[in-house]
């Protein structure tokens, strides 16, 4: 294209081209929608009437005191709570417009699309390379020589390749805690999730590793939608576009991170973000 024709492309045409290039163009703008979600265990109510819509490609921080239901909310989104004893729920959660509990939904597919990273790194007892491709193998996404390609790509993506390329067949347990968490992230990314649930992902890491992992999270959007449960208010401010504050099983506040931290609507939020309660 020369100078003249390029100028003739209108903004509307550009927008339409970009729209057609967007792989998510036919999907709802909100990747996860919770509708009046209430969750309890053996009669004990943990979450009450949570309704929220999470826009695709954003980072949402989930904050709140211990026992306020943040982790329960997170773990409900990929159905990790389903088999906990006495699990009961009302309301619904939609992933790309379809209920995650609808009979047509495959549980394993839901978990492939909604990945998870835990409080502490949890590598599997297999080589570093096998850890990265463990999920890929289970879902039959790739096999044979492709697995090496996947492993290298994902390890590069999390910035671990140079550190481990000479010991791909070695034990993951000899890596540092931060490196192990990055390995777990590579493993979660390898199956190609749309949403990543992060349950206090840096709480077991030192400040330097935390910074490395955090800066990586920011590179994952807008391809992925991130939900981060954190006790670290600084992390919530640094990382997120929007913030949800849970208080006693209820969604006390949900808004842009700037609004939640600077002009909280709820009195409990104000006290919490100022560090007056914890």
């Amino acid at each position: 294209m020369d100078e003249v024709t390029r100028r003739q492309v209108s903004d509307a045409q550009l927008a339409s081209v970009l729209h057609n290039l967007d792989p998510d163009r036919d999907r709802p703008a909100d990747v996860i929608v919770a509708e009046h979600l209430s969750v309890g265990f053996a009669g004990q109510s943990v979450l009450r009437d949570v309704s929220v819509a999470l826009p695709r490609g954003t980072v949402t921080a989930i904050i709140g005191p211990t026992g306020s239901g943040k982790s329960t909310f997170l773990r409900t989104l990929n159905r990790m709570n389903d088999r906990v004893r006495g699990f009961e729920r009302q309301g619904d959660v939609h992933l790309d417009g379809e209920s995650i509990w609808s009979p047509g939904q495959d549980l394993l597919a839901v978990r492939r699309r909604v990945g998870m990273l835990f409080q502490r790194p949890n590598p599997f007892p297999m080589s570093i390379r096998d850890n990265v491709v463990a999920g890929v193998r289970a879902h039959g996404i790739a096999r044979g020589k492709q697995l090496d390609v996947v492993a290298e790509m994902r390890l590069r993506e999390v910035g671990l390749w140079d550190a481990v390329k000479d010991r791909l067949h070695g034990s993951p347990y000899r890596l540092s805690g931060g490196q192990q968490q990055l390995l777990c992230l590579a493993r979660a990314l390898a199956v190609g999730p749309e949403v990543l649930l992060l349950d206090e992902p840096t709480s077991a890491l030192d400040p330097l590793s935390t910074e490395a992992v955090e800066s990586l999270f920011r590179t994952l959007t807008p391809a992925l939608t991130l939900l981060v449960v954190t006790h670290n208010l600084g992390q919530a401010r640094r990382l997120s576009d929007a913030t949800m504050l849970f208080y006693d099983g209820q969604l006390a506040e949900h808004g842009s991170t700037a609004q939640v931290f600077e002009q909280p609507r709820d009195a409990r939020t104000a006290r919490y973000v100022q560090g007056l309660v914890g």
């Binding site: 990929n78 990790m80 394993l108 597919a109 839901v110 978990r111 492939r112 990945g115 998870m116 835990f118 502490r120 949890n122 590598p123 599997f124 007892p125 297999m126 080589s127 463990a134 999920g135 289970a138 879902h139 070695g170 034990s171 993951p172 347990y173 000899r174 777990c184 493993r187 979660a188 199956v191």
Partner: protein, 356 residues
């Protein structure tokens, strides 16, 4: 009055200090009891092993000299003429015509133990999986208890059941299903042919397998319970099924322990005597031509032949049984060392037990 009170106080102090001294003395005595007693106690099993192997070796020595290297390869089992005629070989007096070879016993021991392991290891792992993940607690607990009780059933009872019930049942209803479908080609025909009446190689191996399942299963269950929840949860969150979690995470996590449990079971299978003596058919001098034939093992031979060996006035038959016993001890030790080597190799990814 005041003086008396102060004396009381001083007296009390004296009592206290002497009781403290006493306590220290007892503490030192207890300390040395644990240290010295501990050293003496460890000598018991070590000493017993040395003594046992030494006595066995001395008893077996004449037989080792006479039987030579062919003891390991020969299939003869001829007690010779035990009523008079003797011959002298390498300075040892033996009944005329006595010839012994242990190859059928060695082959029988290794074959039955291999069959037992092939049967017991998968059954045990699946049992452990069911007890820890598959079944609800109110079923798993009593079933787990039953599994442990089975481990305590005397082997003679299992042998009796094997020869009266299990063997005939398998020979009539199960073995033919396999044997009759096997074509007469090399290697494969080992699985075919005559299935006999239920006494023999496969029945012995399966009975041994049943006997070692409880040991391996209960150990494996305890190992599975030690696997931390976090890696398993990670695997589930990645979209793995329960079976995949078991295969890719739980089992590898405790792999070396499971191998150790299997070796424990193998040790018992190699040495198990009376049950095998009852279901093997106790046929000397023959290596079974197929999976079902009658045979015997080292341990079963020792127990079934000891009476008749005692009638050998030269003592050569008893010496030969001692040599067979030495051989069994040697096989057990080699198997243990091999298993250790495997555990060492499989631990190359780091021993993750205790990490989360």
């Amino acid at each position: 009055m005041r003086q008396r009170a102060s004396i009381d106080v001083i007296g009390a102090r004296r009592d206290e200090s002497s009781s403290r001294r006493l306590r220290r003395v007892w503490a030192q005595r207890e300390e040395s009891l644990w240290r010295v007693g501990g050293r003496v106690a460890t000598l018991v099993p070590v000493g017993a092993l040395v003594f046992l192997v030494a006595v066995l070796a001395v008893k077996a020595w004449p037989a080792v000299k006479v039987n030579g290297g062919s003891f390991l390869t020969s299939t003869a089992w001829l007690p010779g003429n035990t009523y008079g005629g003797v011959e002298h070989v390498h300075g040892v007096t033996i009944p005329a015509g006595a010839r012994y070879g242990a190859w059928p016993l060695i082959a029988g021991t290794l074959q039955t133990s291999a069959i037992a392991l092939v049967f017991a290891v998968p059954v045990s792992i699946l049992t452990a999986f069911a007890l820890t993940e598959g079944l609800p607690g109110w079923i798993a607990r009593p079933v787990g208890f039953v599994v442990e009780v089975v481990a305590g059933i005397p082997s003679v009872i299992i042998g009796l059941w094997g020869v009266l019930v299990l063997g005939p049942f398998l020979a009539r209803h199960v073995y033919p299903l396999v044997a009759n479908r096997i074509p007469d080609v090399p290697v494969l025909k080992y699985l075919g042919g005559s299935v006999g009446y239920g006494e023999g190689l496969l029945t012995s191996g399966l009975v041994l397998g049943l006997m070692i399942v409880p040991i391996i299963a209960s150990t494996t269950r305890d190992l599975f319970l030690q696997v931390p929840a976090l890696p398993k949860e990670g695997a589930r969150a990645l979209g793995m099924t329960d079976a995949e979690v078991a295969r890719r995470v739980t089992l590898p996590w405790v792999r070396s322990g499971v191998i150790g449990a299997a070796v424990l079971g193998l040790g018992r299978a190699l040495g198990e005597t009376i049950a095998v003596a009852m279901v093997s058919g106790s046929v000397l001098g023959v290596v079974s031509p197929n999976l079902y034939g009658t045979m015997t093992t080292i341990a079963a031979t020792i127990v079934s032949q000891l009476d008749s060996a005692a009638t050998d006035g030269t003592g050569f038959a008893v010496a030969t049984l001692a040599e067979a016993g030495l051989l069994l001890a040697g096989i057990s030790i080699v198997v243990n060392l091999a298993a250790r080597a495997i555990v060492h190799r499989s631990g190359a990814l780091g021993a993750p037990v205790g990490r989360a």
